[in-house]
C-alpha cells in the first residue's frame, strides 16, 4: 500500500509539473498568433539558438557564428532566405523554412540581437605558415590573377563593414565552404562569385586559416 502511495505521488508530481509550467506565456512558435507579441529575444530563444547558440556562437561548423555579425549583413541574408534568393544547399535546407514567416521588424530585432553579442575568439591556428600565407592573400589578394584583397570590404581585421560580413573568428570549414560555393556559383553573390572563381583550393585553405584564427 505504501509503495502504491509512493508511485501515485510520483505520477501526481509529474502531472503537477505540467500545470505549474503552464503559466508561461505563449512563446514557442517562430510565427506567433500575433507577430508583435514575439520579441527578438524570444525568437532567438525558440528558434535561432538551437543551431547558432544562445549568443550566436554555434558549436557545429554547419552553422555560422553570428555573434558580433554586422546588422546589415544579417538583415540582407535573412531577407534573401525569406525570398528564396539565396539557394546554397544549407540555405535551402535550414533557412528557407526558418525565415519564411519573418516580418521585417523581426529580422531587424534578430540582427540587432546577434550583432550586439560579444564576438567569438578565433581558433588558434595549428598551421602558422599557412595562416601567414592567408594573411598575405587577405590583405593583398593575388595581384597576378587580379584577385583583390579582402580588407577593402571586410575591414582590416575582418570585422565586416555594413552589408559586408564579419569573417573574423568564423568556423574555418564554414568559410571554406562559402568560398567554394561562390566559386562554383552555388551561392549567389555578384561580388564574391567573380573573386572566388579564380581562387585555388590552396588559397582558400590559407585565407580561411588566417581569418578563422583572428
Amino acid at each position: 500500500m505504501r509503495k502504491l502511495a509512493v508511485h501515485s505521488l510520483m505520477v501526481a508530481a509529474i502531472a503537477l509539473a505540467a500545470t505549474i509550467v503552464r503559466d508561461s506565456p505563449a512563446a514557442d512558435l517562430v510565427v506567433p498568433h500575433d507577430p508583435s507579441a514575439l520579441d527578438a529575444t524570444m525568437l532567438v530563444s525558440n528558434a535561432c539558438s538551437k543551431c547558432h547558440g544562445p549568443t550566436g556562437i554555434s558549436a557545429s561548423p554547419l552553422f555560422p557564428i553570428l555573434a558580433a555579425q554586422q546588422v546589415a549583413y544579417i538583415q540582407t541574408e535573412l531577407k534573401l532566405f525569406r525570398e528564396r534568393g539565396r539557394s546554397d544547399p544549407r540555405a535551402r535546407a535550414f533557412m528557407w523554412g526558418i525565415a519564411r514567416g519573418l516580418s521585417d521588424d523581426q529580422i531587424d530585432g534578430v540582427a540587432q540581437y546577434f550583432s550586439s553579442q560579444p564576438p567569438a575568439t578565433g581558433a588558434v591556428s595549428s598551421n602558422p605558415a599557412l595562416a601567414e600565407k592567408g594573411k598575405s592573400i587577405f590583405e593583398n589578394g593575388v595581384p597576378a590573377r587580379e584577385i583583390p584583397g579582402c580588407t577593402i570590404c571586410h575591414g582590416p581585421n575582418a570585422e565586416g563593414i555594413a552589408a559586408f560580413p564579419r569573417l573574423a573568428g568564423q568556423h574555418r570549414d564554414y568559410l571554406a565552404i562559402q568560398l567554394q560555393q561562390f566559386r562554383s556559383q552555388m551561392r549567389e553573390s555578384e561580388i564574391m562569385q567573380p573573386i572566388a572563381k579564380n581562387l585555388t583550393d590552396d588559397e582558400i585553405a590559407a585565407v580561411v586559416e588566417y581569418v578563422a584564427s583572428k
Binding site: K3, L4, H7, S8, M10, V11, A13, I14, A15, A17, A18, V21, R22, D23, S24, P25, A26, A27, D28, L29, V30, V31, P32, H33, D34, A37, T41, M42, S45, N46, A47, S49, K50, C51, P54, A59, S60, P61, L62, R92, A93, F94, W96, G97, I98, A99, R100, G101, D173, I177
Partner: protein
C-alpha cells in the same frame, strides 16, 4: 566541469551494474512476448511544419541529429507556419492554437525477404513450403506528428502490419514542454505507450537498430525479424503500457527523466498493431513500473557524443502459461539497468555514427512458480548491441549491427536447451535517391537461436540450425 560530469555518469553507470550481483531477482514470465517493435521514422509533417529539410533533424532517418533531439525535447512545437485559428486570454496566454496544416504523414514499407531455408509446410498448414515472402506493404502507417499548441505536440501513429493483417495503435507520444528564455533549462512531460519510445538517442528499443526490422509473415512464431528472442523486459511493452514521465534538459547537455508505466489493461495486452500479442502477450505490470533515464551529451564541431544510463523496475504478473491457473499473488520482479552511448560525426559530406547499449536484467521469480515454471529463483539476461553506420551526402551508406544476449539457463522458462542466448548481425546497404525514400539491401545473420524459438526446429526440420533463419531483405521505405 564537462569532464567531471562525464566521469560521474560513467562511475554511476558502472557502480549500478556492479551492485546488480547483490540485487534480487526479477522475472520473465512472458515466455514469449513476441512483440514486433516497429521502427521509428522520419516524418514529413514535421518538415511541412518547420520548413526545414529532413537533414536538419536526421542524419539518416530515423536517427536524430542534435537539432532533431532538441526539436523533440521541445515537444515538436517549432513551427514557421501561422495558425489557422488562435486566441489568447488577457494575459496573452494561448487558449487555442490550431495549425492550418494538420501534421499528417504516410509511412510505407515494402519488402522482399528471402531466408536461408524453405520453411516447412507444417509451419503454415496448407501452404507450400517457400523460402521467401513479398510484402506490399510490409507496414503502412498514418499519423499525426506535429504541434498541437504553443507548448504541446504529438506523435500519434496507427499502423497496418501485413504479418498480422491488423491495423492498430503503434507508437504514441504526446508531450508538453517549456524552457527558460536562455534555453538553459528545457523541461517537459511525456505521455507515451512504449518505454524508450520517448528517448532521443536511438539507443533504446523503440527507436533503435534495426531501423528497418524484417517483419516476416511468420515473425510471430519465430526469430525471423529479430523477434521472438529473449530481450530485456523494458522492450516488451510497445503499445501495451501507458507511461507518464517528466524530464529536464539542462544546458544542452544533461538529460534526466523519470517515468511511470502501467499496463494498459490489467490482465491482458491491448490490441496494438500486432494482434499476435493477444495470444502471447500475457502478463500485466503490477501497479506502476518506474523507468528512469540520465544522459550526458557534448557537442563540438561536427561531433556529438553521449553517454547515458537507464533502467526500469517491473513487478510482473505473468499470465502466459496457457491453461494454468496462477494465483494473482504470483509476481516476478525484473530490474533492467542499461548503459548506452552514441557518437555522431555529422559533417558536410560524411556521417558516422557509432552507438550501442548494454543491458543487464535481474529476474526474481516468484517462489510459487519455482520449480514448475522456472528452474531458478533468480535468472539473469545480458544484452549487448553495437552498431556502426556510415553515410555519404545523405545518399549512400549502410550499417553493421551486432546484438548478443546471454543469460541463465532455465529450461521451463526458455524451453529447448533452456538457454536464453541469441546472437545476430545486421548488414545493410542504403541508397536514398530522396531523403524520404530509402532503398535497402539487408542481410541478417543468426549465430545463436534457442531451439524453442527456431521454427525450423519446432516444425521438425532435419538438422535445424540458427543459420536457417538468415535472411536477405530488399526493402523500400517511403514517407510523405
Amino acid at each position: 566541469m564537462t569532464r567531471d560530469h562525464l566521469e560521474f555518469l560513467s562511475w554511476l553507470a558502472g557502480a549500478r551494474l556492479l551492485r546488480l550481483g547483490t540485487l534480487a531477482a526479477i522475472v520473465f514470465a512472458g515466455a514469449a512476448l513476441a512483440l514486433v517493435s516497429t521502427p521509428a521514422r522520419a516524418v514529413p509533417s514535421f518538415a511541412r511544419q518547420t520548413g526545414l529539410a529532413c537533414e536538419a533533424c536526421h542524419t539518416i532517418p530515423p536517427e536524430l541529429t542534435p537539432f532533431g533531439r532538441r526539436f523533440r525535447l521541445n515537444a515538436y512545437t517549432l513551427t514557421t507556419r501561422p495558425p489557422l485559428v488562435s486566441d489568447i486570454d488577457d494575459h496573452k496566454r494561448n487558449t487555442v492554437w490550431l495549425t492550418d496544416l494538420p501534421g499528417m504523414s504516410i509511412l510505407l514499407q515494402a519488402t522482399y525477404d528471402h531466408w536461408n531455408r524453405p520453411l516447412p509446410d507444417s509451419l503454415v498448414p496448407g501452404a507450400k513450403s517457400q523460402s521467401d515472402d513479398f510484402q506490399f506493404p510490409q507496414q503502412m502507417s498514418i499519423m499525426y506528428a506535429g504541434a498541437i499548441s504553443d507548448h504541446f505536440g504529438a506523435w500519434l501513429q496507427m499502423t497496418y502490419l501485413q504479418n498480422t493483417g491488423s491495423l492498430g495503435i503503434d507508437n504514441n507520444d504526446v508531450r508538453y514542454s517549456d524552457h527558460t528564455a536562455n534555453n538553459d533549462w528545457v523541461w517537459g512531460v511525456t505521455l507515451n505507450n512504449n518505454p524508450s519510445f520517448q528517448d532521443v538517442w536511438n539507443t533504446g528499443e523503440a527507436y533503435g537498430i534495426p531501423y528497418f526490422p524484417v517483419q516476416s509473415l511468420y515473425s510471430a512464431t519465430q526469430p525471423l525479424g529479430n523477434t521472438g528472442m529473449r530481450a530485456p523486459i523494458f522492450t516488451q511493452f510497445p503499445g501495451l503500457a501507458a507511461g507518464l514521465g517528466a524530464y529536464v534538459w539542462y544546458k544542452d547537455s544533461i538529460y534526466l527523466e523519470l517515468s511511470e508505466y502501467h499496463s494498459a489493461k490489467s490482465g491482458s495486452a491491448i490490441a496494438n498493431e500486432d494482434s499476435s500479442n493477444l495470444n502471447v502477450g500475457g502478463g500485466t505490470i503490477d501497479n506502476f513500473a518506474p523507468y528512469w533515464r540520465a544522459a550526458y551529451e557534448r557537442d563540438w564541431g561536427y561531433n556529438s557524443a553521449m553517454i547515458g544510463t537507464s533502467g526500469m523496475y517491473v513487478k510482473f504478473v505473468p499470465s502466459v502459461f496457457a491453461g494454468q491457473t496462477l494465483s494473482p499473488g504470483n509476481v516476478n520482479r525484473y530490474l533492467d539497468l542499461s548503459v548506452d552511448w552514441q557518437y555522431q560525426y555529422n559533417g558536410q559530406h560524411n556521417i558516422f555514427t557509432f552507438l550501442g547499449h548494454y543491458t543487464h536484467e535481474n529476474q526474481e521469480n516468484d517462489p510459487g512458480l519455482v520449480p514448475t515454471y522456472f528452474n531458478n529463483s533468480t535468472d539473469h539476461l545480458n544484452q549487448l548491441q553495437v552498431t556502426g553506420e556510415y553515410y555519404y551526402d545523405h545518399r549512400y551508406g549502410g550499417l553493421v549491427s551486432f546484438r548478443r544476449a546471454t543469460g541463465t539457463t532455465d529450461v521451463p522458462f526458455n524451453g529447448g536447451s533452456g538457454s536464453p542466448a541469441n546472437q545476430f548481425e545486421v548488414f545493410e546497404l542504403d541508397y536514398l535517391p530522396w531523403f524520404n525514400t530509402k532503398l535497402l539491401l539487408q542481410y541478417d545473420v543468426y549465430n545463436v537461436v534457442n531451439n524453442n524459438q527456431n521454427p525450423f526446429f519446432l516444425a521438425g526440420s532435419t538438422n535445424p540450425k540458427a543459420s536457417d533463419n538468415n535472411t536477405w531483405v530488399v526493402g523500400l521505405w517511403m514517407d510523405f
